[in-house]
Amino acid sequence: MTLKSLLLGATATIAIASTASAERGADGHVNLIYWQAPSIMNPYLSGGTKEVEAASLVIEPLGRYNAQGEMIPYLAEEIPTVSNGGVAEDLRSITWKIKPGIVWSDGTPFTANDVKFTAEYCMHPEGGCAQLAKFEGVESVEVIDDLTVRVNFSQPTPVPYGPFMGGQAPIIQAAQFANCLGAKAQECSDANFTPIGTGPFKVDEFRPNDVISLSANPRYRDPEKPHFATLTFKGGGDATAAGRAVLETGEFDYAWNLQLAPDVIANMAAAGKGVAMSAFGTLVERIEMNMTDPSPDLPEGERATAKHPHPILSDIRVRKALSMAIDRDLLVEIGYGQAGRPTCNLVPAPEVFASDNTDCLKQDVEGAKALLEEAGWTVGAGGIREKDGKKLSLTYQTSTNAVRQDFQALIKQWWSEIGVETELRNISASVFFGSDPGSPDTFPKFYSDVEMYANNFDGSDPQSYLAGYTCEKAPRPETQWQGENINRFCDPAYDELVKELGRTAELEKRGEIAKKLNDMLTKESYTIVPLVDRGRVSARSNTLGGVELNTWDTELWNAADWYRIKP
């Protein structure tokens, strides 16, 4: 599987530059700054990106995704597939073979029991494991021998790479976490802060939401790695300060996820102390259309449910017109610069799953106006369109965030040009992305006509992501307003196709189905109006080598290979 991944030329030149010293710890100390500070070192209890990334220095999965999105073995000897016999013909089990000779940083051997234990730990009903979705459909995990483990699924699973694959599902040590199963997981502070791992570094001191001190794991499987003897992982502050510390003052070597205006990053990079790198994954900023009526006049419990279709947005012509009025190039230029590109797809990558849908890229205000006329919306008082005495007026909500508010203002302007009145709202992210069923302001409750946010999927297969848009996944009072299908999109043909995707193992065929599903949600129905394919921008100092920005796994996936470039 080849993937488009845009890395700056700089990274390429570094790869050719001086080769690293061939001794563990020879390159001294390295400083990382994450402006969101990690609060725990156990990704199973947090699920947050910052925790997954920090933990990935210490604990490792059996296999990872590389910067191109391809699966590569880490603790396993190879990635099991149907062709090499690792995945059973009936797609109901996957057998992992572990590399021999791997030891934990405390010197005890790493065995299949640890793998089995990790599954038990996460699948415990009272554990509150954040990565439970990775273990969906797992019936049992069997230890065949010390170095072989088999995961059995209750149903044929064409993509059996949920458990133990990628930074979200690393292996924890059975001996250390033995007393931390279930409800006890919450109380194991020591294990959660200083997990014993197989990775290149080990935790010396963990200060929650502040700083992590790490040093090279003396028992790491490659005797020459990691090149750095110690590592400081500082957290806190804001993205500007993190960017400044790497690009302008040179105090730090690596800064994660610089969500800053493009000109700010360019100004910082001009100081010449470091480089801003970018890479694209699957994160898409989109406008979601509400297919149900969120009117406050409806009784609570019926408001924004399938009982009442949306009076305006149920007409596909209106939805399409709203999409046509948007100039995505300008949005990218203003909001994201090198870290964004316009898209019409919900699934923008990997290539095999990305539809060739580009018809939304060109702004067409006249076409949008014509479409609204055709739908019966005529220009009324104040330039706002009306139909049967009803104004074409929409509420548009999103989370509080400078770029999103810029987007709202621009889109409101474009929509007013085609005669659509827009009322803007922004809601604090901690409320908007929360799922308190009592709050009227959460994104799944969707008490608004349209809303904007970004979402992506883990790993490189979009099956569960696309499966979120089936009829039954719609948030509604009966589900406590939980569910991924926040548009309340409902199409039996779509549900049928999702089922088919779940039965198909052949990659080509899966790609076709996924593209079709993507198109059904985007260009065929305009239920979801994608705006920007958002990349990741991180910065590294000029003296840090070996960095390969990875959006498919954690950014620190190859920290063992990082080295100091000698001037």
């Binding site: 990106t49 494991c129 806190g236 992305f433």
Partner: protein, 335 residues
Amino acid sequence: MLTYTIRRLVLAIPTLLFISLVIFLLLELAPGDPMAQVPLTVPPDVKEKMRLALGLGEPTHIRFVKWMWQFFVVEPMNFIDWAFGTAFSEGQQRVLSWQFRSPVMDVIAQRMPQTLWVVAMSYVVGILIALPIGIYSAYRQYSVFDQTGTFVTMVGYSVPPFFSGVLVIVIFSVQLGWLPSIYDTTLKVVDWQSFKLQLMQMVMPVMVLALQTTAQISRFMRASMLDNLNQDYVRTARAKGLSEWTVVMVHVLRNSMIPVVTVIALGVPNIFGGAIITEQIFKVNGLGQLLITAIEANDLPMVQTVTFIIAVLIVFFNIVADVLYGVLDPRIRYD
């Protein structure tokens, strides 16, 4: 005086209990979800399980009583265990943070050194600068020094730390490259070299914070000195032939300090949680940063505990200020 102090302390108990209830209810009613920061790739039903694992499934009053028990009984017992090596609190559930799954008090203790080094030090530095400025400004009212002092304190009052902090970083870290812009909380002072590093990383945050303290306290000091300088007893002292130094520094200053001391005492609780912005700018990661990140993450046990501790300090230092007032000024008697 003693009975007054005891009465105030006893009265503080119901006040604090009421405050803790109000904080709890406010947090309870506030919108927000501790799972809001978990990425959208984690499905809603998994988030629901995580919420239950945090104990959010229990009714509000049960959780409040649990917090009270943990905070007022288990945590003190745990402190005694730590101090005397006993084992009273063994097996008892402590107040756990939702972000860290670790005892809230441990993290607070961990944040103390940098909070005291930076925020408390800035308070001391601010006071040390403010007092002489205030005294001399009042003594030479409307002189060039007074005018300059007034100007500087006005600037100190009106320039917010998110501006002055970034400004000094741009000057001293980016342009000149003299001082670090990021505070290293792991630095241990063991010798002159590390002491120098500690000093260098403290200079900017301490001075930015001290500017604000200086502005406030020096204005109080000046006003209070001016009140006293025109009093009859000052004229009497001068008429007795005392030196200007004795008149100002002994007679006037002692009387002027009475209101200033109470202002200083009332400002002490601000050290613990009052420097949120400056801490964020310099990445000091003290109690202020702990509180703000806990609020962002909806880590209710942490927010509840930190705000309650601040409430305790405010109530306590109010009592201290009132008592000090009586101690310093024999004319004031509460009994």
